[in-house]
C-alpha cells in the first residue's frame, strides 16, 4: 500500500507544483500590468 499511496501522492505533488508555477507567473504578469497602468497614469 505504501507504494500505491506514494505514487498517488507523487502524481498530485507534480500537478500542484506545476499549478503553483502557473499561479506565480500570473501574479508576476499582474504586477507588470499594474506597473504599466501606473506609468500610463
Amino acid at each position: 500500500m505504501t507504494y500505491l499511496y506514494t505514487a498517488y501522492a507523487a502524481t498530485w505533488a507534480i500537478h500542484v507544483v506545476y499549478l503553483v508555477t502557473v499561479v506565480r507567473r500570473y501574479s508576476q504578469l499582474k504586477k507588470e500590468v499594474d506597473e504599466l497602468n501606473r506609468k500610463k497614469s
Partner: protein, 288 residues
C-alpha cells in the same frame, strides 16, 4: 467564458474525486500484484493524456510552420485530406499487414480524429495562436509525462524488484520527455525571433517519438506489460470502467490547465507587445 471556468473547475474536481474513489475502493484487487496494481489507474491515463497533448502540439506546430505561406497552407490542407482518405482505405486493403490486435476500425478512427483535429485547430486558432497552443500543450504534456516517469518506477519496484530498466518502452518514453523538455528550454531561453519556428520544427520531429513509444510494446519484446486494450490483451470490464473514468477526469483536468496556461500566455504576449510599443514611443516623447 469567465463563469464557465470555475464551473468546469468544480465539475472536474468532483470527477477527479470520484475517479480516485473508484480507483482505490471500487476497482477489484488484482490477484498477482495486489493493491500496487492500482497505480495503473493514474499511470496509464497520464500516459494517454500526455500522448494526446503531444499530438495536439504536433498539429499546432505543423500549422504554425505551414500557415506562414498561404500556398503551403493550401497544399498542407490537401495533404491532410489525402492522408485522412488513405487511413480510411488502407487498413481494409492491407488488413494482413496490420500488427496483431490493431483493428482497421481503430486506424480509421485515428485517421478521422487526425483530420478533424487538424481542421478544428485551423478554424479556431490564428497563426500566432497555434504557436501559443503548441507551447501550452507541450508544457502540460511534459507535466503528464513526468507523472508517467515517476509512477512507473514506483510500480516497478515491488513488481519487478527494480526501479528502472533500459528497455524500449521505458527508454523511448524518457527520450520523449527529454525532447519536450528541450523544446521548453529552447522556448524559455532563446530570445531570437526565429525561436517559434525552430521550436515548431523540433516539435514535429519530437512527435515522431510518440508512435514509437506507443507501439514499442507491440513490436519489441519488452519488460513493460503488454497492452491491456487491443494488442490481444484483456482486462476485467470493472477495471476498464475505472481506467476510462480516470482518463476522462485527467482529460478534463488537462483541458482546464491548458486553458488557464493558454490565457496566461496570451495575456503575457499582449503585455510584451504593449511594453515594446512603450519602449518605441519613449525616445520620441523624450525628444519633444
Amino acid at each position: 467564458m469567465k463563469k464557465a471556468f470555475p464551473i468546469l473547475g468544480l465539475l472536474t474536481a468532483v470527477l477527479l474525486s470520484y475517479a480516485l474513489y473508484e480507483a482505490l475502493v471500487v476497482a477489484p484487487t488484482e490477484q498477482t500484484m495486489g493493491d500496487v496494481q492500482r497505480i495503473f489507474y493514474y499511470h496509464v491515463p497520464s500516459a494517454w493524456t500526455a500522448f494526446l497533448l503531444f499530438f495536439l502540439n504536433f498539429l499546432a506546430s505543423v500549422q504554425y510552420l505551414v500557415r506562414r505561406d498561404p500556398k503551403t497552407d493550401a497544399i498542407a490542407n490537401w495533404v491532410v485530406i489525402a492522408l485522412g482518405v488513405l487511413t480510411c482505405i488502407a487498413p481494409y486493403a492491407f488488413r494482413n499487414l496490420l500488427p496483431v490486435g490493431v483493428y482497421p476500425s481503430s486506424v480509421v478512427t485515428t485517421g478521422i480524429a487526425f483530420v478533424g483535429l487538424y481542421f478544428l485547430i485551423h478554424k479556431l486558432f490564428s497563426e500566432q495562436q497555434t504557436d501559443m497552443l503548441a507551447l501550452t500543450t507541450a508544457e502540460v504534456g511534459v507535466v503528464f509525462c513526468t507523472v508517467v516517469l515517476v509512477t512507473g518506477p514506483i510500480w516497478a519496484r515491488p513488481v519487478w524488484g527494480i526501479w528502472w530498466t533500459w528497455d524500449v518502452r521505458l527508454t523511448s518514453t524518457l527520450v520523449l520527455w527529454l525532447i519536450y523538455v528541450s523544446y521548453l528550454v529552447l522556448r524559455r531561453f532563446s530570445s531570437s525571433g526565429q525561436t517559434p519556428v525552430l521550436a515548431a520544427a523540433l516539435a514535429v520531429f519530437g512527435a515522431l517519438d510518440v508512435p514509437l513509444v506507443y507501439f514499442s510494446i507491440w513490436f519489441f519484446r519488452t519488460q513493460h506489460p503488454q497492452p491491456v486494450i487491443g494488442g490481444g490483451g484483456a482486462i476485467d470490464p470493472r477495471m476498464l470502467h475505472v481506467l476510462l473514468i480516470n482518463w476522462l477526469a485527467f482529460l478534463c483536468f488537462a483541458f482546464l490547465v491548458c486553458w488557464s496556461r493558454y490565457r496566461l500566455e496570451r495575456a503575457k504576449r499582449e503585455v510584451d507587445e504593449t511594453l515594446a510599443l512603450e519602449a518605441l514611443l519613449e525616445p520620441r516623447s523624450a525628444l519633444r
